[in-house]
């Protein structure tokens, strides 16, 4: 059994309440910070922990915090990204629903380290019921003196609020999130300036994922060095993985980074294997934006080594034979699923969610959607495959925000690993409407 740092207490009945949380050692991290640590010392512990952003990009949190500008007399803001809209990802929801005070405590500690006096949780509008859970917990924290003016006599003031989105995947991108929190359409901003210099209302701002901020609590409680001992290499600590698709036990699991993909996928502690005793066809290990892996690259790398649940191992081989840990949205496909159909579905998603500011993204996602729809419905041509490749390549790297890349990568990876399945759709237009291709063959000369 792996260690749990975030979900260790979720099964305790009243953990959602202040009393329940406090009884399990809650609010000890912030008590320790206010009593004996400076903001710089908190930052130092986070740096030592090796914590990397849990929202998808995996950027070191301590380094990100150290970039925040500190001009005199200008407020700074910490924003918690609770937009959770990446298909396959449903971990932050679980954490907030089960253990809201952990996020709140993490935000108080993090706000203190950054010198913020007002912080916001931006939560997707569909999670309105979780917004109510959070507001209730925040009210308790105010009542117990952990929020507001002069917290526990320390002289530190902090206000914490929750603000909803209203259905737009793009608002998970940090500058779109800021625009949305300012009450505007969620159009990403051109960077620079980066939010650390000019963010919310043109003030220095840090945006962090829910899980990232919650992880700060165990880091302070144990010390950064101890936290860094969990995990493997530069993938320190624990990670929430939301498993979905064709597995026996879909759900949210906290793993120690570095366990094998095989254990995660097949052991009863986690996914419990492929549903119905079927064979594994493919896996998208980090949310819909990351490259899909064919069955023969899921549990081992191209070099034949065991694949691990870590930032490095999942991306081993680069995009040629690897993928990414991403947001931890672990999507599993059994042998009866159609990769062409799923690629079309994801592309339709990105087209729908494109904010429309950049033509490569706005037009390119639409093109790819149409071409994929054509292939999936038995009207494809061989040259469509070159067209798809060409369009995705022209989107990647040519847009204001990474949604363009997120739309391009899944198409590129599907074409790279499942070309024979695409070709089959084109050559067998009748058959492809009635059935599925099954498993693709492992290339004979795996490099």
């Amino acid at each position: 059994m792996g260690q749990k740092l975030l979900l260790d207490t979720v099964h305790i009945e009243n953990i959602q309440t202040y009393e329940g949380y406090a009884k399990q050692g809650g609010y000890q991290a912030i008590a320790k910070v206010l009593k004996s640590m400076s903001p710089e010392e908190v930052l130092e512990e986070v740096k030592k922990s090796g914590l990397r952003g849990r929202g998808g990009a995996g950027f070191p949190t301590g380094m990100k915090w150290s970039f925040i500008a500190k001009p005199e007399g200008v407020p700074r803001y910490l924003l918690c990204n609770a937009d959770e809209s990446e298909p396959g990802t449903f971990k932050d929801r679980y954490l907030m629903e089960k253990n809201p005070h952990l996020l709140i405590e993490g935000m108080i500690v993090s706000s203190f380290a950054l010198g913020c006096h007002t912080s916001y949780i931006y939560i997707r509008g569909e999670f309105m019921w979780i917004l109510h859970i959070l507001e209730k917990a925040i009210a308790e924290a105010y009542a117990k003196g952990w929020l507001g003016k002069n917290i526990k006599g320390s002289g530190y003031d902090l206000d914490l609020y929750v603000s909803p989105g209203a259905g737009a995947y793009i608002c998970g991108e940090e500058t779109a999130l800021i625009e949305s929190l300012e009450g505007k359409r969620g159009n990403p901003r051109i960077k620079p300036p980066f939010p650390a210099i000019k963010g919310l209302w043109q003030s220095p701002t840090v945006v962090n994922n829910v899980e990232t901020l919650a992880s700060v609590v165990p880091i302070i409680n144990r010390g950064g060095e101890e936290y860094a001992k969990i995990g493997i290499g530069r993938s320190t600590g624990t990670k929430l993985i939301s498993a979905c698709g064709n597995v026996n036990k879909p759900g949210v699991y906290e793993i120690e980074l570095g366990i094998s993909v095989e254990e995660f996928l097949y052991s009863d502690e986690y996914c419990g294997g492929i549903k119905g005793g079927k064979r594994l066809k493919a896996c998208v290990p980090g949310g819909s934006s990351v490259p899909i892996l064919p069955h023969y690259l899921v549990t081992k790398t191209a070099a034949g080594e065991q694949r691990l649940m870590s930032y490095e191992s999942l991306s081993d081989g680069g995009f040629a034979t690897g993928s990414m840990l991403g947001s931890g949205g672990f999507i599993v496909f059994d042998e009866d699923q159609c990769v062409v159909r799923n690629t079309w579905n994801f592309t339709r998603f990105y087209h729908h969610e494109s904010c429309g500011q950049c033509s490569p993204c706005r037009e390119g996602t639409g093109w790819m959607e149409k071409v994929l729809h054509r292939i999936e419905n038995g009207h494809g041509h061989m040259h469509d495959l070159d067209l798809l490749w060409d369009v995705q390549r022209k989107i990647e790297g040519n847009t204001i925000c990474p949604l363009g890349d997120a739309a391009a990568w899944p198409v590129a990876a599907a074409l790279r690993h499942f070309r024979e399945e695409f070709e089959w759709h084109i050559k067998e237009p009748i058959k492809c409407l009635k059935g599925n291709y099954g498993l693709v063959n492992e290339p004979a000369l795996a490099v």
């Binding site: 407020p75 603000s163 737009a168 979905c244």
Partner: protein, 166 residues
């Protein structure tokens, strides 16, 4: 045009609380949440009247409200039924049968996504991933998530709303 819209006093109080969460002069930040409240209060959708009223409340130009209302998919800018079923159609849910559930909804309600039943009770809307992928197929009605749906479960839910209506 239309009747004069006015929130109930307790909602006006709530809006006041929300505005105060933002530094003075940034009341525009309250707009998304106020539009959710408006949609709940005034028939599940945002008419031009409703949006104008929200603009007046927040001291904004109406265009600032229209811009936001048309960007975000949760806001209905056309009239909808009493019960809006927002069913997820994204990849992970489709791996576990969302397409069958959508077809079943279309057949049971005799409408396509985007349409409202003749009696004005149900509107069917397909939406993108609602962060419930491990518990699919799923849909949302109001604030409630209905997860791990089967055709039988869907029938039960529809009937509950039909009965409540009568």
């Amino acid at each position: 045009m239309g009747e004069i819209k006015e929130f109930k006093p307790e909602i006006l109080k709530e809006i006041d609380r929300i505005i105060k969460q933002f530094p003075e002069g940034n009341q525009k930040s309250a707009i998304l949440r106020v539009l959710h409240l408006a949609q709940n209060e005034f028939g599940n959708w945002l008419s031009a009247d409703t949006m104008d009223y929200v603009a007046r409340l927040l001291h904004l130009n109406p265009i600032e409200v229209y811009e936001v209302a048309t960007f975000y998919s949760m806001y209905n800018v056309k009239a909808v039924g009493k019960v809006v079923i927002e069913v997820c159609r994204t990849g992970p849910c489709c791996l576990v049968g969302a397409e069958n559930i959508i077809r079943h909804l279309e057949n049971s309600l005799e409408i396509k996504p985007g349409q409202t039943t003749a009696d004005g009770l149900f509107t069917l809307k397909t939406v993108e991933c609602l962060g419930a992928c491990g518990y699919g197929p799923m849909f949302q009605i109001g604030e409630t998530y209905y997860e791990n749906l089967t055709e039988e479960k869907v029938d039960g839910i529809l009937n509950t709303f039909r009965t409540a209506q009568n």
